[in-house]
Symmetry: C2
Subunit: 262 residues, 2 copies
C-alpha cells in the first residue's frame, strides 16, 4: 500500500545530502501556500484507504518531544458519531456567537465554520501526556511540548492531504469533555484537534476569513524581527520592494457551483 | 526575491482544482519523511537572505485560529545573544538531567540536544495571545488554539527548510522567562519555539533518539483507531502486511565526517 511512498529505513544512519530539485521545492511551497481550512467545499466521495493511510503515516512522522509520539488518530466515519459531534459544535458555536460584540455577531453567525457531517471522514487527534513516563526529554522546562508535538502531526497531515487533493478543516469550537465522551476517549487524554477530511469541489485562493472581511493578512514586516523583539529586519525591508505575482496553479477559476462563499 | 515562489493572489477567489502530479506529491512526502531535528550537523555557511525569507513566508502562511496570525519570528544572528541563549540552555539541561532516574542520566548527558551557537541562525517563534482582541473566533472553547497556530507555523518553516536543504533543530530545554529577557520579548508574549537553523553536513536517516536507543518508533497500529478510542483500524491491519522499502534518496551514505552521532 505504501509502495509509492516507502518510509525511511532506519538501517541507514544518514539520508543523502542530495538537494531537492527546483520542482520538488516548488511542490512543497505549493502545498504550504495553497493549503486551506475547508468548511463548505466537501464532496461526499469516499477517500481511498491507501490515501488515508498515507496522510496518517505523514502525521505519524511529525517531530515529537523526546521522540514521545504522544498522538492518536481516531478516524470517524460512523454517521451517528459525526452527528453527535455536530451537535456538540452547534451548542458551542451558539455560546461562541454570544461572546462577540453585537456588531460582529451577525457576520460571525453567517460564517460556515465546520463540515463535520458533510466530510466523509473526521479525524480526532489527541495527546497522551503520559506516553513516555513522568519525565520527558525536552519537556522538562516547557510543559506544553507534548501538545505541540500532536499539533505538528496535524500540520503534517494537512500538507500531505493537500498534496493528495484532500481538503482538511480544523474544528475547534467544541467542548473537549463532550467530544471525548462521544468518542470514548479516556479522561487523561487531551483533545488537540478535530479535523474534517474529504475531497473538495475547490479551495479558496486566500483564507475564507480574509475574503469575508473578518480579519486581514498581517504584513510579514510586522512579524519578523532581527536579533531582538522590535529589531527592524533587513530581510523584510528587501521583501517590501517586491510585488506578488500569481502562480500558474492559481489562475484557473473553479466551476460555478462553488463560486460563492458558503 | 520571491520570484520563483510567488504568493497566492487574493483577487482569485478559488485556487485551481488541478491535482498535484505524482512527482509533486512525492516531493511533499519526501520533505515530511526526511525532516529531522538537527543538533550536531550544522555548517557555519551563511543562509542566503532569499532562502530565509522564503521559509519565514512559509511559516507566515500557516493556519491560525480566527486568522489571528499570532506569531512573531525573532531572527537571531548576533553571536553574543546566541551565547546567552546557550547558557540558558546549559543551566536548564543540567536541571533536566537530574530529573531522570540515575540509570538514564549517563545516556541523557551523552546526547547532543542543541546547536545554538554552531547554527548560523536561530529563530525564536512566539505567540501574541492578544493580537486579535479578547475574543478570538475558534478559540472560545479551546484556549490553546493560538499557541497551536504558532506551532503550525514552526512545522511549515521546518518542512520548507527541508526542501531548501536547510536543517532545523527545536530547542525546548529552556527557561521561558530567561529567553524572553535575553531577546527583549515582552512579558505577555509566549515563547513557543526556539529553533536553530543552518545548512547541514547531513541528516540522520531516522530520528537520532531512536538511533541512540532513547525511544523506539511506535507502530502506527497503536495510534490509529476506527470510530472510537480503541476501535481496531481496518486501515492499519492492511498496513501491517506491507514491508517497508528504501527510497532512492535514502541510500547514499554521507561523507565520513558525520558518520557517528554527536
Amino acid at each position: 500500500m505504501l509502495d509509492s511512498f516507502p518510509l525511511p529505513d532506519s538501517q541507514h544512519r544518514f539520508v543523502s545530502g542530495e538537494p531537492f530539485s527546483h520542482a520538488e521545492r516548488e511542490a512543497v511551497y505549493r502545498a504550504i501556500f495553497t493549503r486551506r481550512d475547508v468548511r463548505g467545499q466537501f464532496l461526499p466521495d469516499a477517500i481511498p484507504d491507501e490515501t488515508l493511510l498515507r496522510v496518517l503515516t505523514a502525521a505519524h512522522h511529525a517531530p515529537s518531544v523526546g521522540f514521545m509520539q504522544p498522538w492518536n488518530f481516531v478516524v470517524v466515519r460512523d454517521p451517528a458519531r459525526k452527528r453527535r459531534i455536530a451537535e456538540i459544535f452547534a451548542r458551542a458555536n451558539e455560546e461562541a456567537a454570544m461572546m462577540f460584540p453585537e456588531e460582529k455577531r451577525t457576520l460571525y453567525r453567517s460564517l460556515k465554520l465546520e463540515g463535520i457531517t458533510t466530510a466523509p471522514v473526521n479525524i480526532c487527534v489527541t495527546c497522551d501526556r503520559n506516553r513516555a513516563g513522568p519525565v520527558v526529554l525536552g519537556a522538562t522546562h516547557m510543559a506544553d511540548m507534548d501538545l505541540f508535538s500532536s499539533v505538528c502531526a496535524v500540520q503534517n497531515l494537512w500538507l500531505a492531504a493537500r498534496a493528495e487533493g484532500i481538503g482538511v478543516g480544523w474544528v475547534s469550537i467544541l467542548n473537549e469533555t463532550e467530544v471525548k465522551s462521544a468518542l470514548g476517549i479516556p479522561e487523561e487524554i487531551r483533545l488537540v484537534a478535530y479535523l474534517c477530511i474529504g475531497k473538495v469541489s475547490g479551495l479558496h485562493a486566500s483564507p475564507e476569513l480574509e475574503q469575508r472581511g473578518w480579519r486581514q493578512r498581517v504584513s510579514i514586516a510586522d512579524v519578523v524581527f532581527d536579533d531582538y523583539w522590535g529589531g527592524v529586519s533587513s530581510l523584510v525591508s528587501k521583501h517590501q520592494t517586491r510585488s506578488v505575482d500569481v502562480t500558474p496553479w492559481l489562475i484557473d477559476p473553479l466551476d460555478s457551483e462553488c463560486s460563492g462563499p458558503t
